[in-house]
């Protein structure tokens, strides 16, 4: 039994990894069919994996209510909201008496109504609140304490002005005629922004990307050869 629990998954990962890797170099119809079938199976598996997250979250809130832990009332809200939202999209009943469209997938249906008027505003607002915190943090913590911090600060400020219309406006109002040089802008944030993004930023990001790719390849090789086993979780 221990073989099935510990060695069998490593064998599966090895075989799957080698087969899918080798397949890349064999451009035949059969090898393409093999990949297509693997992808189809993977899509179904991903679906179930996502369901695991949903189930464990519901399980957590159900337990909280059952044991009447502090704040269990909020868990009741979560479960009631879940049931209502789920049923409006799953129950094959007519909602026309409430003025909704008959088709559950319609944008005029009850499910999309809740999506538009509850899901969208709550999620959007949750992330928009960060605008206040980032402004406050920039004011309080953004200090030119070293050369590196100064580089970060200057690049950040240049891009904040150079990437919004006020940067273009500044460039246009400070444009002067400079003889044979033609019209030149004296305060040209957009120009500096373009250079910063396309040269030093792109190069630094490429360095990071190349490093990430190399480590991704290393991890993939480790998974295939059974050195990396974190996906197996704990226990026997």
């Amino acid at each position: 039994m221990l073989f099935f629990k510990r060695q069998w998954p490593i064998i599966i990962a090895f075989v799957m990894g080698i087969v899918m890797w080798a397949r890349f170099y064999i451009p035949t119809e059969q090898s393409q069919t093999l990949q297509d079938e693997f992808m189809r199976w993977a899509r179904i598996l991903f679906g179930f994996a996502a369901m695991l997250g949903i189930l464990s979250l519901l399980h957590h809130h159900w337990n909280k209510i059952k044991l009447k832990r502090p704040g269990f009332g909020f868990s009741v809200v979560t479960l009631v909201a879940f049931v209502i939202m789920a049923l409006t999209g799953l129950l094959p009943v007519s909602w026309t008496w409430l003025g909704f469209a008959d088709n559950l997938r319609s944008s005029n249906g009850p499910h999309m109504y809740l999506f538009e008027h509850m899901f969208v505003p709550m999620q959007a607002t949750m992330f928009s609140v960060l605008a206040f915190f980032i402004a406050s943090a920039a004011f309080r913590a953004f200090r030119a304490r070293s050369i590196e911090a100064t580089a970060l600060l200057i690049a950040g400020c240049v891009i904040m002005i150079g990437r919004v219309p006020v940067g273009d406006w500044l460039a246009s109002v400070t444009t002067v005629e400079m003889g044979s040089w033609g019209a030149r802008s004296l305060i040209n944030f957009p120009y500096v922004t373009d250079w910063l993004l396309n040269i030093p930023n792109a190069a630094a990001q490429r360095g990071i990307i190349l490093g990430v790719i190399l480590s991704q390849i290393a991890i993939s090789v480790r998974i295939i050869f059974g050195i990396e086993r974190t996906y197996m979780g704990g226990g026997d």
Binding site: W8, L57, Y113, F132, L152, A155, M160, N201, A203, G207
Partner: protein, 210 residues
């Protein structure tokens, strides 16, 4: 605007203000909104799960197309759900091994071919594009090399290596500065989006009826 739409806009505005109340401090209204959001989003995902995965890929495949092969990945999927049952949780390892192993194999050649090599080729471009572009190319070469050295931890960052990695850090900081500028932009955009909703959809259309 219909009555339903007006109710919807008021509901959305109320929830928006409820979530905004967090700016003052963590409070019961925000907590209520947070838990409501959790429930609504999980309910939404269950629907997506059913209509976009189970129905087309499993139920329809078996019923309409009589494709019984999908039973195998469905079984492997059920193994994943068994992770919640401690006595048989080990079965989920088979499913994870199947797709993590498979994707490791898919990733290696594709990432090298479609990502690593084009990026490397672009870095090692010949110097034949005029003075300005050649100078930029030198900056790019220098930055890529020094950033890679900065992330190379097998060598101790002292003396020459330390100096090179310091230059790399300088370029990384410029890039992070650019990211910071853009992050500020993103967060402000989201706030603008919510204020646009409150002003246009709520105040102008349902209160002032403009």
């Amino acid at each position: 605007m219909t009555i339903g739409e007006i109710i919807g806009v008021w509901l959305a505005a109320g929830l928006t203000l409820m979530m905004f109340s967090f700016i003052y401090r963590d409070n019961a209204f925000f907590k209520l909104g947070e838990h409501l959001y959790l429930g609504i989003s999980v309910g939404y995902f269950v629907n997506i799960q059913y209509h976009q995965v189970l129905v087309p890929d499993v139920i329809r495949a078996i019923r309409v197309e009589h494709d019984f092969w999908v039973i195998i990945p469905s079984l492997l999927g059920i193994f994943i759900l068994l992770r919640l049952v401690p006595s048989v949780a080990w079965l989920s390892r088979m499913s994870f091994a199947f797709y993590i192993g498979g994707f490791a194999g898919v990733a290696i050649p594709n990432v090298i071919h479609g990502y690593f090599l084009p990026q490397l080729a672009e870095t090692l471009r010949p110097f034949n594009a005029g003075l300005g572009n050649n100078l930029n190319q030198i900056v790019i070469l220098l930055a890529v090399f020094t950033v890679l050295i900065f992330f190379f931890f097998s060598l101790e960052h002292k003396r020459i290596v330390g100096g090179i990695s310091r230059i790399g850090l300088f370029f990384i900081m410029i890039s992070f500065g650019a990211s910071f500028g853009y992050t500020v932009m993103a967060r402000i955009s989201l706030l603008i989006g919510r204020f646009q909703f409150l002003l246009d959809d709520w105040i102008r259309q349902t209160i002032l009826r403009l």
